[in-house]
């Protein structure tokens, strides 16, 4: 059964005339990793906030259509109810810090306080989240003494510790170095294998293409493509819309390195295989 169902979602911010989301529909199954890509102002962050109910409950404005997350009708539920099942990591990690805690450990523990979860379970979950994001060694540091990249991983850990059924990440690796980015994508892979559904808005399309099960392309509030990365990134006209495509796909398109089904490679691995065949050499 789908853990996210979005049907014909339309949304307009207060005092705006254009729709920020215009007829968005898709579903996500447990354990799936979905990447949301597209140019800025396409509606990526708005969609992330709609999946946890901040749109429309916090931002107000006019909304239509249906959003169901982990069995809850988001429009008819409070943000607090939704937040027990779906966690959102904001684009800017500074926004996410409680500002009330003096160590990384306490910051992660913050969300679990007052939830009635037994103490030993809390301790277990905090350690799990900190280790998964590579923050265990930094647990006694002040959150505001962390680098941008470390703070970004802390923001993710603080949401993960609640063990939501659905994890929404809005550009979670923007401040991370390549190694830190790899860690976050690997952690997302682990979470999906444990059955969590993950939705990530991200500009790093090479990583999305290599890791995501499905890709949703947004442009001006509308879904312009939805499906497996190979199908989506092989579509014509994405670059003209300002949608980034993986380097391997852009190169293969120019060189007409197509798979038998007409799609282009989306990862370096796939391009090496097809390119190697075309170049008539043995490449491994």
């Amino acid at each position: 059964m789908s853990v996210i169902v979005v049907e014909n979602l339309r949304y307009r911010y207060p005092r705006q005339s254009a729709l920020a989301l215009d007829g968005v529909s898709f579903t996500v199954e447990p354990g799936e990793f979905v990447g949301i890509v597209g140019p800025n102002k396409a509606g990526k962050s708005t969609l992330c906030q709609a999946l946890v109910g901040l749109v429309p409950h916090f931002y107000k404005g006019a909304i239509g259509g249906r959003v169901e997350v982990a069995g809850l009708d988001v429009h008819a539920s409070t943000v607090a109810e939704v937040s027990r099942r779906a966690g959102l990591v904001f684009q800017s990690p500074f926004t996410q810090m409680s500002g009330a805690k003096f160590t990384v450990y306490e910051e992660v523990a913050f969300g679990l306080e007052h939830t009635g979860i037994p103490r030993d379970e809390m301790v277990r979950r905090i350690e799990w989240a900190l280790r998964l994001l590579g923050l265990w060694e930094l647990r006694d540091r002040n959150p505001f003494a962390l680098s941008g990249g470390q703070m970004q991983r802390l923001a993710i850990a603080s949401v993960l510790v609640m063990q939501p059924e659905v994890l929404i990440l809005d550009e979670p690796t923007s401040q991370l170095d390549p190694a830190g980015t790899s860690e976050v994508f690997a952690a997302v892979g682990d979470l999906c294998r444990q059955g969590m559904a993950v939705v990530m808005a991200e500009h790093k399309v090479d990583r999305i293409a290599a890791r995501a099960d499905k890709v949703l392309v947004l442009d001006r509030g509308q879904v312009v493509a939805w499906g497996p990365p190979g199908e989506v990134f092989s579509l014509d006209g994405l670059t003209a819309r300002g949608v980034a495509v993986p380097a391997a796909t852009a190169a293969a398109r120019e060189l007409r390195w197509q798979e038998p089904d007409g799609t282009y490679p989306v990862t370096v691995e796939q391009a090496v295989r097809i390119g190697g065949e075309r170049l008539g050499r043995d490449h491994r």
Binding site: N40, S147, G149, Q175, H203, A248, R278, H283
Partner: protein, 274 residues
């Protein structure tokens, strides 16, 4: 007018907390042109650039920008030479109108209202924000707020421009816009120093690349030199751009830095393409 500047860094060492060295002996000369600084989070990149404009003073060693030593020059005087755009735009936005924000720097340097306004409008045009003059910076998205901070520094017309992670939150169009600004500054003979994790951006726009690791400069060379050394990159916790990896895996002699370069190589006179 901005003019040329040379930056000389000698045995630069720095710590925030005694005993925890952030920079451990850096020797560099930075001449006009584009320089990318890459390296893992925590390698000392942001600390290094704060030492170049005098926001931080060396614990040991020296930083000279032309004839000014940062140790004995006020931050206000350094601001005429070195403009710095912070990683987090919230650290440097404090006016309620975009135009006032961008005029603030030139006014502070003694420009008249008219001149400051002209410079601000030119800088906003360069970052693609013409039309946003009357908006509140905090009503803008993160990507646009970042462009406002870049415009603010461009308007100061300094010979040295430092950008800390300028491509964060930018889409392809925004990255290209910032890349064009880097090229423009370089063509003007200015020194443009940029910290970034975006290796495609480095490969496409920068003449010189410095690899920082644990407070030292691990390598210094052209993008082609740096990205053709996977061992070195691994040591610094970095990876070459995907297109470079693809070229290497297909056995190209010199690593391609851009998709166009890769395609041209395969289509060239000795082209390998069928």
């Amino acid at each position: 007018m901005s003019g040329l500047a040379e930056i000389i860094v000698r045995d630069l060492r720095f710590h925030y907390t005694p005993g925890v060295e952030v920079l451990r002996g850096i020797d560099l000369t930075l001449t006009p042109g584009s320089v990318a600084i890459i390296g893992q989070n925590g390698a000392g990149k942001s600390t290094f650039v704060r030492l170049l404009n005098g926001l931080l003073r060396p614990t040991q060693g020296e930083v000279w920008v032309d004839d000014l030593s940062t140790a004995s020059t006020t931050v206000a005087s350094m601001a005429r030479k070195v403009g710095l755009v912070f990683q987090n735009p919230t650290d440097q936005l404090f006016k309620s109108r975009v135009l006032d924000e961008v005029m603030f720097g030139p006014l502070n340097l003694g420009a008249s209202q008219d001149e400051a306004r002209q410079r601000a409008e030119a800088a906003l045009a360069r970052v693609g924000l013409t039309g946003a003059e009357a908006r509140n910076p905090y009503d803008l998205g993160l990507a646009e707020r970042k462009l406002v901070t870049i415009a603010s520094v461009l308007a100061m017309d300094t010979p040295v421009v430092i950008l800390d992670e300028p491509t964060i939150a930018q889409d392809v169009t925004g990255v290209r816009q910032i890349g064009d600004i880097v090229t423009w500054l370089q063509e003007q003979g200015r020194t443009v120093i940029t910290i970034t994790h975006d290796m495609d951006f480095v490969a496409r726009y920068f003449q010189r690349v410095l690899v920082f690791q644990a407070g030292q400069v691990l390598a210094d060379g052209t993008a082609e030199e740096i990205f053709s050394r996977p061992d070195l990159l691994r040591q610094a916790g970095l990876e070459p751009p995907p297109i470079t990896v693809l070229g290497q895996r297909l056995g190209l002699a010199r690593p391609p830095l851009t998709v166009e370069g890769f395609v041209a190589r395969l289509r060239g006179p000795n082209g390998l393409a069928p």
